[in-house]
Symmetry: D2
Subunit: 302 residues, 4 copies
């Protein structure tokens, strides 16, 4: 397969599919798929368990849960509730929410670019409790949660002059949450996945991911606290679209010819562009409710 | 040339370029180019003067002024002022602004989709005067304008359940402006033109144009009043990108083969997607100031 | 009682209370109160049935339904649902929704002033159907509604240079709805009513009401179609607050003394100010969901 | 003077005026006034130089510069430029900007409440440079500044579950700016000062100030770095309005009678309300440009 390095996907699932296409099995990578025909939801859990697996996948060791829900970009409230329930279920497997827990939700991305505004909108929709519990105690709440929820929308580098990781590191060092959950809009490799896929991972957010790429990651290593990443692919890189449309053609060329051909085809400024549906406003509105409702469900006591 | 019908550009200039590429000259279409080397601005006036010209261009008879300003997406205030001046100069040629005039500015597009929010933002930036002049007379103003300026941001069909043309027709019939100016984000055929081109035309806005296409146009025919269209290309249709990247390849195929090849390459949902730069938020901010300042300059008395 | 003319309330209920305080009964005004202790909701229907009643009340003949729900500014979803149900019930009494009906919802007020943004936000939350039914027929919908819903957010005069009534008249003349529903933020006389009261009336919206006062009304008389007004008081005029705090004191003075005293106390610019709670952002968010859900419920077939 | 404790002003100048009214001079407080008749701007510098002065003024020792510009809420660009120049001049006296300096601008307040959105909007308008200088060096800039500018809009406690001071402390500890500048909307005591006054102080932001009061301050003491506060009064507390309107009356009562009278007059929920002009949207738009332009001017090399 050509152009590996240049063509980007933020979804672990898409990387495994590429290997599957090529009938390659990778040691250190376990894949488990679960289809709920009735609910119309497919969940795939990719576990990267060894250094070798991590290298092959181009991703750190850990769990990558992908929830595929084809009707996610439609306005069906009941269906969205199912998906929220699925998100909550997986979060509760990754985080111990049986005991009081302090959780910082980070809404990554750029509120001013519709396709990149998922993270900020999810945080907008959440009910914060940390300040209430600290000031008035648990009894001040309605009894639905015991967790100290806090949230921040750090903005992007052009807006702040700071790396997102600097901002979140500072806040995490000061407020000492038990877990950070970072929500972000992602780039998929395939249009087919846009706005109908949720990826949850316990490896955090990595450099080079997101719509407007992060230069530094949000990981346990640099935040000193467990980091869960929740992402929804809302764009495809423009270069990917062109690349993929020529895939068959490329297969007929030698490697050097491929490289030259691609350099001619894909003008450099195409790499700073993204592809997104025209009704991205509606889609992001639904998706942000679904994800924030998933978080709300997870945080409520059982 | 293949796929003419499917590949869309809202810029008359791009259509003339296609003919130029093919060394075809069209009767009924006059093209005049003016390059200001110092100001780094190129202005092209395309005049469609006959039915034949209109047919060949796929556009109604009238004037199409294209201002190309390569640095328009950068944050250089002085340069933007030059472009605003150029917009104002051409508007004053298309509209008689020497006498009191009542002008309705329509901000087309969808405020909630960044790439499509140019029109709404331009209207946000304008100073309305119609209500002041009607209530308190011209003396109530600061002496900079004699024109009754009004403005509306109609929203898109998914938000209103109405055609934009129905809304604007109703308001124009009720408030009886002398001229309507409709501002809209456009689709270009080429990435090279994005966010650095302003098209001004006295033929209004036509069905099928805009980011989220208009089904009915805003023209003198249906508004019963002169309509000026001001557009800035902020997106390229996703299908166009793929199509163009395969242009050379397509040239080697027979027509039927081309058609089949394209149908396979370009999945239907690609037609409901657009390509736009990742920093579209910054760009739209600058562009909307430049266009609204152009309008302000034009409306101020000389 | 002094200063009648200057102290403003948009709520018919508050006017009846003033008469009640003075133990005056008015012919031509029927008042019926219904308290649902369990749901914690009080509904009062004021019917103005004669010219005399209209004069005494300073309001046109018609029905004024006031739903008082003290917990409306709190984040209790179930309670809000009750209030939405109550709004829907009364709307179905005022509008015949058993047969296909075309309804234009007008979101009055200024989106850029939080306390005045109720109308625009309610329209934001609604699902429009008119364009779908007209293009694809009733079968294109999910079967929940048979009504053609359209909506417009006209903006305020400083933003458009036009009277709101001009805009709505034009659109209504063009799109010919059977009913117009105008949603607006209102001024109450008493802080006690803020953000916990919904007024529904079949007399439309009248000049001088709203947060940023309307100069012309939206009534059956000028729109040529039935107009329902839905309002929620979100502000109190600043002059009212001062006036009321001095009510007892004023009672001890002669009429001329009162007038002089008030002129001294209430500086003119106080009349261009309003009072609103500091958490107006949260409140408006809940209220707009409650009202739009009320509309959604009313429009769905039984 | 009555009700000292309850009636709030964020302006040092208003506190000095109260003393002036009572013909009291305070040791440890220097006041210098400078009126520029031509520019229509009055600047007052209050220096609190001793512990005694601080106690009397209810404010920490330091400099409080108040720029009064009566036409500040009008749309006169030239006048706003004068005021921006005045802000820049004073900032350059408080901060040493002759050498490279790293400055973090904090936009305090709540973007979702118009009257409280000054801080966020000012930061929106600024050009950040820190990330560019750190990545590409000074030569990457246009030569207008040598300073590393960064900015954050932390949000309010209800949105984040964290004290603003926690967020800013964390970020300051991580990014180590030389100076923090905090911009905030303030509460004035008098309607006369609203939206026409800018206060600059080198003592930071203190608990209990702002539109939605800060519980903890942003001061050199808790940030370990110099803190400049820039504030514009955009609201008056609702209780203040009522209190002041009864001032003369209160003077005739004994202290205990005053207290009882006030408790009866001013209902508790009035303390959670504010008074602001109906055209607050326009005003905040102009003010935020004026303040951000003041910052831009100050940061540009002389």
């Amino acid at each position: 397969m050509t152009g590996n390095g240049r063509i980007r996907t933020d979804l672990a699932l898409e990387t495994t599919e590429r290997f599957a296409q090529e009938h390659v099995e990778i040691r250190g990578v376990d894949i488990q798929e679960d289809v709920d025909e009735e609910k119309h939801i497919r969940t795939t859990v990719v576990k990267i368990t060894t250094e070798n697996g991590a290298k092959a996948m181009g991703r750190p060791q850990g769990n990558y849960i992908t929830i595929e829900a084809p009707d996610l970009s439609m306005a069906d409230e009941d269906y969205h509730r199912e998906v929220s329930g699925e998100i909550a279920r997986h979060l509760r497997q990754l985080i111990d929410l049986d005991h009081e827990c302090s959780i910082l939700i980070v809404g990554l991305g750029n509120r001013a670019v519709t396709a990149d505004s998922l993270g900020p909108r999810v945080v907008d929709n959440l009910q914060m409790t940390r300040h209430l519990i600290r000031e008035y105690g648990l009894k001040s709440l309605d009894g639905n949660t015991i967790h100290q929820i806090s949230g921040i929308i750090p903005g992007v580098m052009a807006q702040t002059g700071m790396e997102t990781s600097e901002i979140v590191q500072g806040i995490a060092a000061e407020t000492k949450p038990d877990v950070v959950i970072a929500v972000d809009a992602l780039a998929a490799r395939s249009i087919r996945r846009l706005n109908r896929t949720v990826q949850i991972t316990d490896t955090g957010i990595h450099p080079g991911s997101g719509v407007q790429n992060h230069r530094t990651g949000l990981t346990e290593e640099n935040l000193q606290v467990k980091v869960i990443g929740i992402g929804v692919p809302t764009v495809v890189d423009a270069a990917t679209i062109v690349h993929d449309s020529m895939a068959h053609l490329l297969d007929t060329l030698e490697e050097q010819e491929q490289k030259e051909f691609l350099e001619e085809m894909i003008t450099p400024n195409l790499y700073s562009m993204f592809v997104t549906p025209k009704d991205v406003d509606e889609t992001i509105k639904y998706l942000s409710f679904t994800v924030s409702e998933g978080l709300n469900l997870a945080f409520r006591e059982v």
